[in-house]
């Protein structure tokens, strides 16, 4: 027990001695949270719009107004010939172009169907898809003003997050990223550094047991991770006004098995690498990117090919994302989230066992 404490103190002292790491540890998460909270929005607005009005009547102008009056579109250019739209789309200055053909007003007044041409830049598929949807909605409303209605109205009811703000989910997601980066990476590098600098031998001749050494190395970084989350949480709750509908206690308890996994992965990486550079690459490419991409955090899991869906069951962040969504937005607790907690515990135990085995082999 004394030995364990000594390692913890030594590690904390070393952390304090490096003047640049502390600001990095504590400023970085806040910075990440602010950027992500503002940038990570899938709420697509202000799509750059170009208009080519060949009809030039009151009716066509009021349709153009319907487009520019919505927050979905921002008018960047009005041209007189369809050919002038090409360079606008080519350079990306406009993402969507509307052409109102000559005869538009006459067709409508005569009770005939009048067409409007929409041209979307498919190179940005997300904005393209959403932009076309918005445009269709603008046109439908304009049609309705003229007295043409659809016979079935679809009335959407959105649960948990009524104004569909992606920020409400993205911000809790950043908390997960912070925990992951700090615990996994710092643990991995802390152990490899001793090997690289050659001080590992010195540690091994002390009466410390390998378990003491490992746990002693883990604890400081687990603490750093927890402190960081606790300092980032107020920003999420009060600055971004993300609702925390479940209990804080549930959140904290369900975070522990996730940290078990990330700390374990950090250890595993350290047993697999000989230099800090290797440790860094291994964490970044083999353990961090998959967590970001295969967790359902940004890209929906159900869209992935079947093999990848199986692979995601090995990704701890996948379960933690469900937990975060559940506790923050749905307000559910252990009764619903126990399968995720169990999966994290299971993964954590497997990872730690693997790390322990590798560690022993390396010592021997």
């Amino acid at each position: 027990m004394r030995g364990l404490l000594n390692v913890v103190v030594k590690e904390l002292l070393q952390l304090r001695r490096d003047p640049k790491i502390l600001p990095l540890l504590f400023v970085a998460p806040v910075f990440q949270l602010l950027i992500l909270g503002y940038a990570a929005t899938q709420d697509i607005r202000n799509i750059e719009l170009a208009v080519c009005d060949l009809d030039r009547t009151a009716a066509s102008r009021s349709l153009v107004d319907a487009f520019t009056g919505s927050t979905w579109f921002r008018l960047v250019a009005t041209v007189d010939a369809q050919g002038e739209l090409d360079p606008l789309l080519d350079s990306g200055r406009a993402r969507l172009a509307v052409t109102i053909p000559a005869g538009f007003a006459a067709d409508r007044a005569g009770g005939r169907v009048a067409s409007v041409q929409l041209l979307a830049d498919g190179a940005d598929a997300t904005t393209g898809t959403v932009g076309l949807g918005y445009a269709a909605e603008v046109v439908r409303r304009a049609s309705e003003v003229g007295g043409v209605h659809s016979s079935i109205e679809l009335r959407p009811v959105v649960l948990y997050n009524p104004d569909l703000a992606s920020r409400n989910f993205m911000v809790p997601g950043v908390l997960a990223m912070i925990i992951m980066v700090m615990t996994m990476m710092l643990t991995a590098m802390a152990l490899v550094r001793e090997v690289e600098i050659g001080t590992m031998e010195q540690l091994l001749v002390t009466p410390l047991t390998p378990l003491n050494l490992i746990v002693g190395k883990i604890i400081p970084y687990a603490l750093v991770g927890l402190v960081e989350v606790l300092s980032a949480l107020p920003i999420a709750l009060w600055w971004f006004r993300v609702p925390l509908r479940g209990s804080f206690f549930t959140l904290l308890v369900l975070t522990l098995p996730f940290m078990l996994c990330t700390l374990g992965l950090g250890l595993l990486v350290s047993t697999l690498s000989r230099t800090q550079q290797q440790a860094m690459m291994l964490t970044a490419f083999v353990f961090m990117l998959p967590q970001v991409y295969l967790s359902g955090f940004i890209f929906p899991i159900q869209n992935m090919p079947h093999g990848f869906q199986l692979l995601t069951t090995l990704v701890p962040l996948r379960y933690y994302v469900v937990i975060l969504r559940g506790v923050f937005l749905k307000g559910v607790g252990f009764a619903v989230l126990w399968p995720q907690a169990l999966a994290l515990l299971g993964l954590g135990v497997v990872i730690l066992t693997l790390a322990r085995l590798r560690f022993r082999r390396r010592l021997g």
């Binding site: 799509i47 350079s91 550079q277």
Partner: protein, 367 residues
């Protein structure tokens, strides 16, 4: 000068050759990552878990339900006639959307009256919910005939066409973005440790004793990584073209030139970090923070820049991937020439020059 620069480059290459794992990682990672994520990533909304609550039970209601299930957009997970069952389905995440067809739907349809159906969505995944709502609107619109008020105007019909990527496949749009992301992260990480390693191991002193000047040291250290980066980038681009159906409609030469500028910027940024950090641990943290997050978030790769707040849009101007993505999508998907992305190429050049200059100044001071 050239001889000394080359000497450093050769030394760095030798060190790389001894560290096989790192070299292989730098060479192979872009291809492996692209292969992995190119398949996995997609925003195409498919297989949404749909619950149907049919309180009407008539033929018209069944037809609407079939219209939802006809494509692979929706998978039926539960069908019933009690809306109270939905709470548990949504709480546990077993359903992402629910279609509620109210009692009287069938008779309204038969009588030609306007009627309403309800779509319940799980908003905790805002992005999927938005897309699902769009799909549902289309399905309902095509299932419903229009009705007109007396003396109504003619309806307006939107005729949509899509350029450059007609089937709006999200992978054709994401793969170039992914390419930029992977190249940036690999480049920054490759050089971020290059100088700080010498500092940490104490070999900086021996370098200081040689007649090297700062710029020779930096360029010499950057060159091997530029070489490795180019090979890796070529492999990744070939893979995107061959496997992911990303066409290269513009000129290959332009593609190579823009990619080299982008790589130089990334490697320069890594160098800058390396000259500022004292330990590899700090350098690595900074490298990840500076390369990964902005490239993922502020480049237009996943999140559209036009939707961000004004101040943040200004910040995106110092993210090199932003320019690279415009140029890359231009060359690859649109087949445009320098008239469309010339400014972006210039911006990439400026970025690379500035970071390398600042890194040199920093090194001069420490030498």
């Amino acid at each position: 000068m050239i001889r000394r620069t080359l000497a450093i480059a050769v030394k760095e290459l030798r060190q790389l050759r001894r560290d096989v794992r790192t070299t292989l990682a730098l060479l192979g990672m872009p291809v492996v990552l692209l292969l992995l994520y190119g398949y996995a990533l997609s925003f195409d909304v498919r297989h949404i878990r749909l619950a149907v609550v049919d309180q009407d039970g008539g033929r018209a209601a069944r037809e609407l339900r079939e219209a939802f299930l006809a494509t692979d957009t929706f998978d039926l997970v539960s069908a019933g006639n009690d809306a109270r069952a939905l709470d548990a389905l949504f709480d546990s995440g077993r359903a992402q959307a629910a279609l509620v067809i109210p009692h009287g739907y069938g008779s309204d349809r038969v009588a030609g009256r306007a009627t309403t159906v309800q779509l319940v969505l799980d908003g905790s995944d805002a992005q999927t919910a938005t897309a699902v709502l769009g799909y549902a609107r289309q399905i309902v619109a095509s299932a419903a005939p229009v009705w007109r008020e007396p003396h109504s105007l003619g309806a307006i019909r939107p005729v949509a066409s899509v350029w450059y990527n007609p089937d709006l496949s999200s992978s054709r749009f994401l793969v170039p973005g992914l390419l930029g992301f992977i190249l940036m992260v690999t480049a920054v990480i490759a050089t971020a440790l290059a100088v700080v390693r010498e500092k940490e191991r104490g070999t900086m002193e021996s370098l200081r004793a040689t007649p090297l000047v700062a710029i020779e040291l930096l360029i010499g250290k950057t060159l091997p990584y530029l070489l490795i980066g180019s090979v890796a980038a070529a492999g990744a681009i070939a893979l995107a073209w061959g496997l992911f159906d990303v066409p290269v409609r513009g000129s290959l030469l332009a593609l190579a030139a823009v990619t080299l500028l982008f790589l130089a910027g990334g490697l320069g940024l890594g160098m800058l970090i390396s000259t500022m950090a004292e330990t590899q641990q700090v350098a690595f943290q900074a490298a990840l923070l500076i390369s990964m997050l902005p490239t993922l978030l502020l480049s237009g790769f996943i999140f559209p820049i036009s939707s961000m707040p004004r101040a943040l849009q200004l910040v995106t101007h110092v993210v090199p991937a932003r320019y690279y993505l415009v140029a890359l999508r231009g060359i690859v998907l649109k087949g445009t020439g320098p008239e469309a992305w010339g400014m972006e190429a210039v911006a990439l050049g400026i970025f690379a020059t500035v970071v390398l200059l600042v890194a040199t100044v920093r090194t001069v001071r420490s030498l």
